[in-house]
Amino acid sequence: MSTIIENLRQFWYFTGFANATWQNFAMIFIGIVFITIAIKKGWEPLLLVPIGFGMIIGNIPMFPGLNIGVYEDGSVLNTLYQGVKQGWYPPLIFLGIGAMTDFSALISQPRLLLIGAAAQTGIFGAYLLALLLGFDPNQAGAIGIIGGADGPTAIFLSSKLAPDLMGAIAVSAYSYMALVPVIQRPIMLALTTKKERLIRMPAPRVVSQKEKIIFPVVGFLLTAFIVPSGLPLLGMLFFGNLLKESGVTRRLAETARGPLIDVVTTLIGLTVGASTQADKFLTGNSLKIFLLGLLSFVIATTVGVLFVKFWNLFLKGDRKINPLIGNAGVSAVPDSARVSEIVGREFDPNNHLLMHAMGPNVAGVIGSAVAAGILLGFLG
């Protein structure tokens, strides 16, 4: 009898109940909240569901040494986590993004690239604020990239500059990307007048296939020569786009933007979620990171809109730009462009801003990859 009791007691020590702490339950609760938001509200479900469930997986209390945890060398989760840790999931996602992105809106109105550049100030604003809050420069750089509103870039850079903060940074970036409509709309309305919101922009010209093919090659050469440290992201982004536009690699492009990106998104979401173990995630730093992430989105949106307003001072007639597309400079594709469209149509149902906003939106993808390269070059 005593043997049975002893064995049962030993079994009890191996269960999650015996090893649980309140922090574990808190993280599991956050995971469930993520899943609920994704399903009920439909906010970034492809990311929030894997991340949310990953949070639950990563916070199941366990007896250490069983070699199953995400931070235990050689475990299954740890092996899958290497793609995040070594930074090779994000470039694969960029390959898919390149293969699914149509840069026509940008090529037809190249001047809109500047809005994408202006919105990157969110990254550097957050960098300055993070330094002010006492983070080291490498940590501040990793936190700042949240302002790029680009999950893969945030994971890539934080895995290189501040691996300890990666969980909080990734969760923060994806959370605020899901909240883009909530964060950006009030800022756009506060900073624009009714007259400005009604500005109509001429329809973009038709872009030839030749231009679409030249774009990834020239775009890559230029950006990679200026910022070689952004090579993994920029290379994969433009390569994916070349697969799409070349017209002769349809199968490769379909795989990159379909099965491949789906597999990698699933794994990146799940493992990033699993990496948010309570003891590493529930810290004062995580709260600061969430605050800085929010501020970086606010700064990026504000500067984007104000930049267009300032630029309009020098433009005449139909060259003027509707400042409601200023928010789209962050690289949350296509959510922020969609916000421009929705807010624009609130004031003029026939004023479609989506195609115009897609220009700065995809420019934001390039801009944030360039910014990540610069931060990696200086701080890596």
């Binding site: 100030t121 300055l128 230029l222 492009a253 420019a363 931060l375 200086f378 701080l379």
Partner: protein, 310 residues
Amino acid sequence: MRNYRIFILSILSLLASATLSAQNLTDLLIGEVLVENTCGIEDGFGQRNGWIELFNTSSGTVKFGGCYLSDDKSDLKKYHIPTSDRAAQIGPRQSIVFYASGNATQGTFYTNFQLRKGSTIYLVSNDGRTIIDQVEIPSDLPADCSVVRIPTGIRGMDFVSEISSKPTPGSYNGDVDAKTKSQIMKETDPHGFVLTLIAVLVVFTALIILAFIFGWIGRLNKREKGAPKKVKKVKKAALQEGSMTPEIAAAISMALSQEFGGEVYAAIALALDDYLGGGVHDAESFVITINPTQGSTWADKAQNFRQLPR
């Protein structure tokens, strides 16, 4: 003809790989040499010999099996590093030590010559002629002091020779206490303004240049479109036929913008058919009617269509 091409390609590939191999070997250098070892590192046999450290300056692994070490310019093939030894490779920015015991039978990393002050040590490529690197040993080199090549410069890819009283066999010759970039940044730019300014400028510059290039390409494209007379002729012909309607334009546009799926071919066929006068289609009412299916659909015509007509 095809075989001939494959043969040429194979030869070119072999040449390319040989060149790459040679380039890898040039990434090696003699990192440190110590002649008189009285209180330093012991070899695998508990002996204190002079030693030669090789350093890989590249970011990739370099295999050096087949290369030679020598202290005599007239006999560059003095010690042949065994090709068969898998250990004869150095990881990126790593180093490896050869003990100059004078007895090569002790193993791969034991040379058949001992070091002498005033001599020159050569690292020779696997062709036995090309000197990859050489280091002169001063005749007055004190005991337990080494001739060391210290990495300098921002990238740590330039090297200066120094005499060191603290030899570091098999480990990095640079400043092991060197600060990280982040630490340097914290000291030089504590508030982050300089980095911010530079980064914003670089992002803007990159995207402005891109905007200029594509603005220019766009203008060039427009000019090209307007130039050739052939295009005008076709357009005129189309107008004469009376078939260049917005529907045709939309169909062509759809065909061009859809880069996958059988819809492309269908749209192109439809557009060309209309463009060339049409006539093969019945007049359509343009009213879509959906009738609920009654009973089994086993004989339905739609069941005979291939799902993937590619």
